[in-house]
Symmetry: C2
Subunit: 425 residues, 2 copies
């Protein structure tokens, strides 16, 4: 839209957008589940209907991106192929079939004076999503928020503005066809930093900010926001192979966690091996991982057992490689493994491989992370894999939501208290 608008103009417009979104959120909060389902289907239909204009807008973004010299990887993330557009529509339809958390009664109790207290799930209200290049986040985030009865305030990457506007235009068509206000899904039309900073101070209109992107983006959001933020920082996942591990299982899980998709936050970054199993396991692990092209960076003891490994440097511990690189350390005890994870872990996903139940219990109790695994791959930390149906991200925060954030985590609660005239004495 109007990128050259003055500061005062955009602030006024931003406030008007915020107010409209707040009003839309009040409408969504009391919509029956069937109407939200109808709307999600209508949004999916509109995405498919408007495929040509989505592609056209995306071509413009891609051309501008090439001109600006965006990397091949960036351009790939930006691209909307027909398959990706279909994927967006399918994602919206998947939400239709999931249970609606709004109105669910979490618990009920009656006090001695006879008042009955029900704790009931309600939408959070208005969710602000700040994200980087992938335009599909626009539809995914809007759909998830809609399913949980929330309005959404989106701010995508500047390089994908035209694509995002085309997607939001389709989503608006879906909203209109169900007689719902377009303001339920807002896209920030300004891409300069001042507009995001202003958005992050709109705590009267936005209830929660979820930033999706690199650590730098998230830190900038935390620094500037007066709205609660749920952080999705990095994943530095460890696997500890206990002396009582089944070697074949350990090898299979390490290979899977490191190699199946090395660029994601639930991939393995650091391996800890108990000294009593290291001598027999290390060479085997090296063979399997080397075959997959994994570079091993070991502590002195691991390098002694596997001379082909590179020596790890100090900053390899706790590092998110997001690549076929694995730091490996031989530890003296499970306690040393737990200490290592406390020092270098990111609170995302940590695993122990062991057949010893006492060791497993010690590990799961003492390791503090969103997901702590026994004898399974860290790659399962994912909304789909957890059975949530869909996710808006994986929280490394400690309050409100931890780990995969699905539709339920996009709701809060209120207490409904019913009496028969009780007063406080």
């Amino acid at each position: 839209m109007n990128q050259s608008s003055t500061n005062i103009d955009f602030k006024q417009e931003l406030m008007a957008m915020g107010q409209a979104t707040r009003e839309a959120a009040r409408k969504l909060a009391v919509l029956p589940g069937t109407r939200k389902e109808r709307c999600l289907n209508a949004m999916a239909d509109a995405i498919m209907d408007q495929q040509p204009s989505l592609c056209q807008a995306n071509q413009q973004d891609l051309a501008a991106g090439r001109e600006r010299g965006l990397s091949k990887a960036m351009l790939d993330r930006l691209e909307l192929t027909p398959e990706r557009i279909e994927e967006m529509a399918r994602g919206l339809r998947v939400l239709v079939g999931l249970p609606d958390p709004v109105g669910r009664v979490d618990s009920t109790w009656i006090r001695p004076n006879g008042i009955k207290i029900r704790k009931v799930r309600v939408p959070i209200g208005v969710i602000g999503i700040i994200y980087e290049s992938r335009p599909n986040v626009t539809a995914d985030a809007a759909g998830l928020c809609m399913k949980a009865g929330n309005a959404v305030f989106l701010r995508g990457g500047s390089e994908s503005l035209r694509s995002n506007q085309a997607i939001v235009s389709a989503l608006h068509q879906g909203l209109r066809s169900c007689e719902l206000p377009e303001a339920a899904i807002q896209l920030l039309p300004w891409t300069d930093r001042a507009a995001v900073t202003a958005m992050l101070k709109m705590n009267q209109y936005i209830d929660l900010i979820i930033p999706r992107g690199g650590e730098g983006l998230i830190r900038a959001v935390v620094e500037n926001s007066t709205i609660p933020v749920i952080k999705h920082y990095k994943g530095v996942c460890h696997i500890y192979v206990d002396q009582a591990a089944d070697p074949a299982m350990a090898t299979a899980i390490v290979e899977n966690a490191k190699c199946q998709r090395p660029g994601v936050c639930n991939a393995l970054e650091s391996l800890l091996i108990h000294r009593d199993i290291a001598a027999s396991l290390a060479p085997k692990l090296y063979t399997v991982l080397n075959d997959k092209g994994v570079e091993l960076r070991g502590d002195p003891e691991f390098c002694r057992l596997v001379p082909q490994a590179k020596p790890a440097s100090d900053d390899d511990w706790g590092r998110e490689f997001l690549d076929l690189i694995l730091a490996v350390r031989v530890v003296e005890s499970i306690e040393q493994a737990i200490e290592h994870i406390a020092e270098f872990g990111s609170g995302h996903s940590e695993a122990i491989i062991t057949e010893n139940k006492t060791a497993a219990a010690l590990f799961t109790e003492h390791v503090d992370a969103a997901a702590v695994y026994v004898n399974a791959s860290t790659r399962f930390t994912d909304g789909g894999q957890f059975g949530m149906g869909a996710e808006i991200g994986i929280s490394t925060d400690r309050i409100h939501a931890r780990g995969p954030m699905g539709i339920d985590e996009l709701t809060t609660y209120k207490y409904i208290v019913t009496g028969s005239g009780q007063i406080r004495t």
Copy 2:
């Protein structure tokens, strides 16, 4: 302690304190419930043992406060009488008997691939409490955090520093006697603003900030914190008397909500009366409330019905009087009452008085507040009244915790995933 320390000195010391508290929190997180209970009892014993030194420190604070010209109300809040000291000890002992939320399994499910997911309650970690004059908050907050397995980082008012230090010294004696690290309960020894600001940026060591005090304090905390904050803003509570209300019940509840303790956040501030019941109810209400010394400020229609009422000014709607003053408006419909509350409510506690179930359901569904009441006084929004045993405050926030925050709300969760070698395909 050293109030004249340079900026660099205190920052280093603050970081060292933060690190020690984080380490203490790791110890507390895995303590069995019985050890926490023993420690709470020991803390209560130490408070009683050290009563003379608590009184002495408090006398110094009071003398300094009088010299600084603190108001009588402020001095009263600051004072530690023997009864108040006993009350602190009793508060700690009450916590002993409450159920320990840590380790509780919220839910368990098994995925088609056989992995078993358990969602288990764990402590949040380190809680920062920023509060004003009342020194009893020091013991209350430390006890609640301890019960939920959290370490605590306290920053009280400057006028009560000596009293707070004496209380913390007693609590430390309790910790030592149970062989727990003193750093589990830290009190910020600096009272200047720079130290609080620095504390609010320590997101590597503090997981959650709970400010307790006036709106100004809370806003300043929100502006400066990079740590998640749970806000306890004001309570502007409304009661809507529907046309289908029982007049005697309406009168009794309004009187209770307004008069029983007018200075607290769950007291009634604004009354809405349906026009069809207003003519008969208004004079009766006036008599009862006037007898109690309540000043009524009415809209034109209410003033017509009750000529003794003062006309309300525009800023009386949505105002937290915390006094024997009540704004009253005659509304055309339940919808208008709901709109009024959406515009002027603070999301704390709102009530409807009605014998009509449809009206009650419409109100509880459409009114967005931490607690929504049917035929009961708003004064029940309180941890004790809700059956939580104790509370750290009443959240007007929307995420993590809403309404009364008890011990459960001082915990978070982690997922423990148990498999038999599952990998992701």
